[in-house]
């Protein structure tokens, strides 16, 4: 296991933890390691307990890591909170200014602020921390000099001065760690880089996917942890015919993208739980009037204001039925940063294909973390566009047994897009037979989305684990550990939660037991699966934090023992 390093930087918000974690990740990624970061902080501009974690590995990374190899504690309270997660043999680096006594064990006391000032750059404290960590993990100093060169070379007159100052800070960290004589397991050299990779956050990657699929209009309202999608779009969705706007509420956002979708353009908004609740009626309008659009919901802890900066998977039921009445909104939930690109593309494509609203359901844990992923090729993206009316249908917008051509305003086929129950032309009616026909038409269109891809391994096993969304990584790690230690278990996974790929649903129905790890109290997805005739049961956690691998390993074992026993007795 010498190929893996997990480092946590913990302290008060504003002490540079996130910068240090991301800097370490960038430096390691630059020389070819796989990296993943994770950060968690309170909902305030500055201060409060904040920590950020970086995992560096020679293998593909599935989770942020269960146990710490190195803990950097920038104050006493961070030390007390996190020391329990430092593995045996791990090293503690602590801010000696915050401690009266010398700490024992494998610990290095550094007064990082004074040391930074001594280098002439008081802002270099995080570079000192990175240097110390690098030395502990036996990572060559050269890697980090390259990184500093790349990060601070910006064509300014004083570039050299800044770079030299930071290299000095790096050396200070290196030397301090070297003087301690401590080492954590050395990292193997990085794997050979086989293709171009990018280091990206989930929110940015799904935004890029949506733009690649031809997104025209984005209108949104700031809300954690979805705001970075709005700001990404403001900065990058521009050019002829493109429009990005900040709305005055989520009610305005959803109304606006209904209007934009109706006008014939590809439209999207982003929000988190509270905003999704406000969008319920508007999403019903889009379902009823058959208007293509995408709502990205970046889940955080709920209900109400809940935990704005923590991760949870508790919006699934709301995403499926965000408003009143008979509807079932298509939902795509990416399980990693890498999947966010395709999820962004597919959400736009699905909306166009079935002419209705789609929810792109992600979560804080995926949205805000950095991952190194293979660079996608935008020229390979297949961007779908709705079937447009050529006027031959007259104004019968809502005719037939399913999808009908979409009349674009300004062109032929004028009709009324109607949120009230309506006849073929969109005029309001209360006739029972029309409500029956139109309700069935709307649901029939979901069939167009049942061909999504999915992962299946060891399908011969009667028991399978099937995570969804951001719990995929931890579930995958647990699955691998369980298989390697002799547990008979299959693997099923898809990001297409509604409608499920038809072949996957058949597979699920054949299982004796499907175990669903998910971050909510209710066991939302297993409930949905049971409604579809699958014997699914959840492993739940609702701490605001992601799953740990070992926790899932133990819980899956318990689940199998308890449920298989019960199955045998029946």
């Amino acid at each position: 296991m010498g190929s893996d390093l997990v480092v946590r930087f913990a302290g008060e918000g504003g002490q540079g933890q996130v910068t240090a974690a991301e800097g370490l990740a960038q430096a390691a990624a630059q020389v070819g390691y796989h990296v993943q970061t994770f950060a968690t902080y309170p909902s305030q501009i500055e201060g409060g307990p904040t920590w950020a974690q970086t995992r560096v590995s020679t293998n593909t990374i599935l989770t942020q890591g269960d146990q710490l190899d190195v803990l950097v504690a920038l104050n006493r309270s961070a030390y007390e909170t996190h020391i329990g997660e430092l593995r045996e043999g791990g090293v503690l680096i602590y801010n000696s200014k915050d401690f009266d006594e010398q700490l024992g064990g494998l610990s290095i006391g550094l007064d990082v602020d004074s040391l930074a000032r001594a280098t002439g750059n008081p802002r270099a404290a995080n570079i000192i921390m990175i240097g110390a960590v690098a030395q502990l993990a036996s990572m060559p100093a050269d890697y980090f000099r390259q990184f500093i060169e790349a990060r601070f070379r910006r064509g300014r007159a004083n570039d050299d001065e800044i770079i030299n100052g930071n290299i000095k800070a790096l050396d200070v960290g290196f030397d301090a760690a070297a003087a301690s004589g401590y080492r954590v397991n050395p990292l193997d050299p990085p794997p050979a880089i086989d293709r171009q990779r990018v280091l990206v956050k989930g929110n940015d990657f799904l935004s890029l996917g949506a733009i690649a699929a031809g997104l025209d209009i984005f209108i949104g309202y700031p809300i954690s942890p979805a705001t970075t999608i709005l700001t990404f779009m403001e900065g990058n969705l521009n050019g002829e015919g493109k429009f990005v706007g900040q709305a005055t509420s989520e009610i305005e956002s959803i109304g606006a993208i209904v209007g934009a979708g109706y006008s014939g353009r590809k439209a999207m908004t982003s929000t988190a739980g509270p905003g999704l609740s406000l969008m319920g009626e508007g999403l019903g309008l889009a379902w009823m009037a058959e208007i293509p659009l995408v709502v990205c919901d970046v889940q955080r802890g709920g209900p109400a204001t809940g935990l704005p900066t923590k991760t949870e998977q508790s919006d699934l039921l709301t995403a499926l039925n965000p408003g009143h009445g008979d509807m079932r909104i298509p939902v795509i939930a990416p399980g990693s940063v890498e999947e966010c690109w395709q999820a962004g593309i597919d959400a736009i494509n699905w909306a166009e294909r079935y002419q209705g609203p789609v929810i792109l359901l992600t979560e804080m844990g995926v949205a805000e973390r950095n991952e190194d992923v293979p660079r996608p090729d935008p020229s390979l993206v297949v961007a779908e566009t709705r079937v447009v009316s050529d006027g031959s249908m007259g104004n019968k917008r809502y005719s037939g047994n399913g999808l009908a051509p979409f009349p674009v305003p300004g062109g032929p086929g004028a009709y009324v897009a109607n949120a009230s129950e309506h006849d073929e032309e969109g005029d309001t009616t209360h006739l029972p037979q029309v409500h029956v026909t139109q309700t069935e038409r709307r649901f029939a269109k979901l069939k167009l989305l049942e061909n999504g891809s999915y992962e299946a391994e060891h399908t011969e096993s009667p028991i399978a684990i099937m995570p969804w969304g951001g719990s995929k990584g931890a579930a995958r790690a647990a699955y691998q550990i369980l298989r390697a230690t002799g547990t008979e278990l299959g693997w099923l996974y898809t990001m297409y939660l509604n409608p499920l790929p038809a072949a996957l649903l058949e597979e699920l129905r054949r299982k004796e037991l499907v175990i669903v790890p998910e971050l909510n109290y209710l066991g939302q997805f297993s409930g949905v699966l049971r409604g579809l005739g699958v014997n699914a049961h959840s492993i739940t956690q609702y701490t605001g934090l992601p799953f740990k691998e070992q926790f899932l390993v133990e819980r899956v074992r318990e689940e199998i023992a308890a449920r298989s026993g019960r199955l045998a007795r029946v």
Binding site: Q26, A29, Q30, Q196, R197, V198, L199, V200, L208, A212, I217, I219, N236, N238, F243, G245, A247, T248, I251, E252, S253, G255, A256, V258, G259, A260, G261, Y262, S263, G264, R265, E281, G282, G284, L285, A289, D372, R375, P376, P378, S379, N395, P409, G410, G411, A414, Y415, V416, A417, N418, A419, D423, E425, G426, D427, T428, T429, H430, L431, V434
Partner: protein, 290 residues
């Protein structure tokens, strides 16, 4: 669409003011399309929920596009249509309940954007479709099913409200004069920016104000509405506010901002000024290379 469509099952009551408004809307959008040599399909009617919104289904002759959405949200929908398709003519049809109660939060933002749309607000001073409850424009003390002791809230003065929020074109019409009303609607559509044509459109069933608006000398009823004097300067905002503060309702064009710049034009100019670089997805990905 109703004449050709026997399944359409909504009807206004006999004598409803909205009959006059629908004729005025048809006149305005038909005449404007002909004058500009463009097809009627370039016009979209965004309808609210209430008696008035059904106007979208009752257009006679060549049909515009329509969207009949949810209660109170005509303006957000119109914002999105203009964001997507600045080339379309967008006309909003809503009532006083839809526009001024549940939908009031959306007036200010569109006024600040100066969204290039025209809202025709049909004011009957009551919730008609739900059978006669008090609306924002119902007067203080009026007894309705939801105000058994008389209405406790002051009535909104819509014209004052629009002017205060900065709406760049504010006109007031009356359903009994569809020809004049059509003229105001057409002027509003020609105005580059957010236009509101607020229309007195009486409800014969729950709040019949025909007599109150016209006045009846025999009964000693003063007219509740008057034509704006010819010497009023619509570019004078203070004069418009003074008119709106009158006890009786002024009919005609109150205010039109002279230097009105709509949202889309602001965006075009800002883009030219700041020279935002459009980068392809490929370029953006290259920026993320490790």
């Amino acid at each position: 669409m109703s004449k050709r469509n026997p399944e359409y099952d909504f009807k206004w009551c006999p004598g409803c003011g909205d009959f006059g408004v629908v004729r005025a809307v048809e006149m305005a959008i038909g005449r404007r399309a002909a004058e500009r040599g463009e097809s009627i399909e370039k016009t979209v009617i965004v309808a609210g929920i209430g008696c008035s919104g059904n106007l979208v289904h009752l257009q006679e002759g060549p049909q515009p596009f329509g969207i009949h959405g949810i209660h109170g949200r005509t303006l957000p929908i119109a914002y999105g249509i203009k964001a997507g398709r600045p080339d379309l003519n967008v006309l909003i049809a809503a009532g006083d309940g839809d526009f001024l109660s549940i939908g009031m939060e959306h007036i200010g933002p569109q006024a600040k954007r100066n969204l290039d749309v025209t809202a025709v607000v049909m004011d009957n001073g009551i919730y008609g479709l739900t059978k006669g409850q008090a609306s924002p424009t119902t007067m203080l003390g009026v007894v309705t099913p939801t105000t058994p002791y008389g209405k406790l809230e002051d009535a909104i003065n819509p014209l004052e409200l629009y002017l205060t929020l900065g709406v760049s074109f504010v006109a007031s019409g009356i359903s009994t004069k569809p020809r004049e009303l059509a003229g105001l609607i057409q002027q509003g559509m020609d105005h580059p920016g957010f236009a509101i044509v607020h229309v007195q459109s009486p409800c014969t069933t729950y709040n019949d104000t025909y007599e109150a608006l016209k006045g009846n000398p025999e009964k000693g009823i003063e007219p509740g509405a008057f034509d704006i004097p010819a010497d009023h300067d619509p570019a004078d905002r203070s004069a418009a506010i003074a008119l709106a503060g009158n006890k009786a309702i002024p009919i005609g064009l109150l205010y039109q901002r002279a230097d009105s710049t709509p949202m889309q034009q602001r965006l075009t100019e800002a883009r030219a000024r700041t020279k935002v670089r459009t980068r392809s997805v490929d370029d953006l990905l290259t920026g993320l290379h490790i």
